[in-house]
């Protein structure tokens, strides 16, 4: 832990009683009051997360959009200024280098927001691929702090701190220069919880003060600081994938069931398109499903069995705090992907029955 990097909010986490763990080389709180309590706060009121560990790469220049289009699986040409989309960067075999948000700030300036665990790998990948384009790429991760204010009361709370009318920042849109208590921030209506909310990018020197004023502004509305534990249970229930769980460099977005974000029919080429097209034409051999268990709890990496035969693996599993049920995602052979299909999860020494259900465990509560 001594070698773990600290975000600008590290001392505040300690002050607030955060239980600090090493996550992808960062010393961050897994929880403060408890994962369940924080989870429910975000579903019902609001929670504030430190997500300063996330990576930010700015792409500027004449080819900023063309390059982004080549880099990611989703269709960047559909974006207008200040609009955002979600997609993946794939390798040539169709595996996922990382998933990311693409912010079209303006025609010649695109912000890519990537996973903390992949910043070095991603930046090397992006820099290499950028050589063929008229763009500059800059890793701004260390100069950017990020807070996520999430939950149905997020807008009401943040609105008390800024003159900008937040209603005008639509879902998956952003605005630069939003002044929150005198501090200029980039604010987007995005998040990783399945609730309405904002991600706030700021100068690292401003992060502690911003976190304090936000927590203060929301204290009487049930806003509490939240850790990485609740971030994971929230994103999981809302069927938002996590790199390293639902996909990685050998699991494609199609296998992970996120083909919606892969525009194989678009005219433009992107890295991995040929391989993914071929995979789609030949048919998948395995795919992500949601499942439910009457007894026991599944965890990332557990085997999925049909009797003696291993037919897949669990990518994420929890007892869902919102639903109170034991649910999970698994990548299994195609023969087991129909709704109602049955298999067993190897939980320590026992094989416990599981049934395939819709992976939309929780209906997202976005303001669109």
């Amino acid at each position: 832990m001594e070698n773990a990097k600290r975000t600008p909010l590290y001392e505040l986490h300690e002050e607030l009683g955060g239980k600090i763990v090493d996550f992808a080389g960062w010393a961050l709180p897994i929880q403060y009051a408890g994962i369940s309590q924080e989870h429910h706060a975000v579903r019902n009121q609001a929670g504030l997360f430190d997500v300063s560990h996330m990576g930010e790469v700015m792409v500027t220049g004449k080819d900023a959009l063309a390059f982004s289009q080549y880099l990611v699986t989703n269709d960047v040409t559909t974006l207008s200024d200040t609009q955002i989309l979600y997609g993946m960067m794939c390798n040539e075999s169709g595996g996922v280098v990382d998933d990311l948000l693409v912010y079209r700030m303006e025609e010649n300036r695109v912000l890519l927001v990537i996973n903390a665990s992949n910043v070095d790998k991603d930046f090397a990948w992006i820099s290499e691929k950028a050589k063929a384009f008229d763009v500059e790429v800059e890793n701004q991760s260390d100069q950017t702090a990020q807070l996520a204010l999430q939950g149905p009361l997020a807008e009401e709370i943040l609105q008390t701190l800024t003159d900008v009318n937040l209603k005008k920042i639509a879902f998956f849109h952003c605005q630069e220069g939003v002044t929150i208590k005198g501090r200029a921030c980039l604010v987007s209506r995005t998040g990783y919880t399945g609730e309405d909310g904002f991600e706030i990018y700021c100068n690292p020197e401003d992060a502690v003060d911003l976190a304090r004023v936000i927590l203060e502004a929301g204290a009487d509305k049930g806003l509490i600081p939240c850790g990485l534990g609740a971030r994971d249970t929230l994103r999981f229930e809302a069927c938002l994938p996590l790199y390293g769980n639902e996909f990685d460099d050998v699991i494609t977005p199609l296998e992970a069931g996120f083909g919606f974000f892969v525009k194989l029919d678009s005219e433009d080429d992107f890295i991995g398109k040929t391989a993914l097209k071929k995979q789609k034409e030949e048919g998948l051999t395995r795919r992500l499903v949601g499942f439910e268990m009457a007894k026991g709890i599944s965890r990332h990496g557990y085997s999925v069995m049909d009797g003696e035969r291993e037919i897949g693996f669990v990518t994420t599993g929890y007892k869902s705090p919102t639903l109170g049920k034991s649910i999970g995602f698994a990548i299994v052979e195609m023969a087991y992907t129909e709704m109602g299909s049955a298999f067993e999860i190897q939980v320590r020494k026992k094989q416990l029955p599981a049934t395939v259900v819709s992976k939309r465990f929780y209906r997202k509560n976005y303001k669109k």
């Binding site: 929880q31 994962i35 369940s36 709890i297 939980v347 320590r348």
Partner: protein, 129 residues
């Protein structure tokens, strides 16, 4: 953090309450705090026999599954079924809510365990590192 007097403890933060040749097993306040919100307890089967330090059962918090190791060898004679309905009771009252009771195979193994004072010192030392 509370440490109950009169119990014996392991370095893995299980406790033992001895009644004759029977040993009731639970987890310490330190253990429940470290695990976080407990959502499921997978109890052992009655009559199952275990060696000392075998995995007796698992306690699942929101975040992860935690193995519970048996402090002394024995045969399971009772399990606390109430925990199946109310696993969170282990967070609230870790010393009241035992998990299982074994009939000890070798009572001399109790000398491998720490009393409350030794356990407190053990935690203090671990915290310093």
């Amino acid at each position: 953090m509370k440490i109950a007097e009169g119990l014996l403890y392991t370095k893995d933060h299980e406790w033992v309450r001895v009644e004759g040749n029977k040993a009731y097993i639970g987890i310490s306040d330190y253990a429940q705090e470290a695990m976080g919100d407990i959502v499921y307890v997978e109890l052992p089967e009655i009559d199952e026999e275990f060696e000392q330090e075998d995995t007796l059962c698992a306690i699942e918090s929101v975040k992860a599954a935690n193995d519970i190791f048996l402090p002394v060898a024995g045969r399971v004679v009772e399990v606390n079924e109430a925990l199946e309905e109310e696993p969170e009771a282990m967070n609230e009252n870790p010393y009241e809510n035992w998990i299982a009771c074994v009939e000890m195979a070798d009572e001399s193994q109790l000398k491998d365990l720490m009393n409350a004072g030794a356990y407190e010192a053990f935690i203090a030392e671990a915290e310093e590192e």
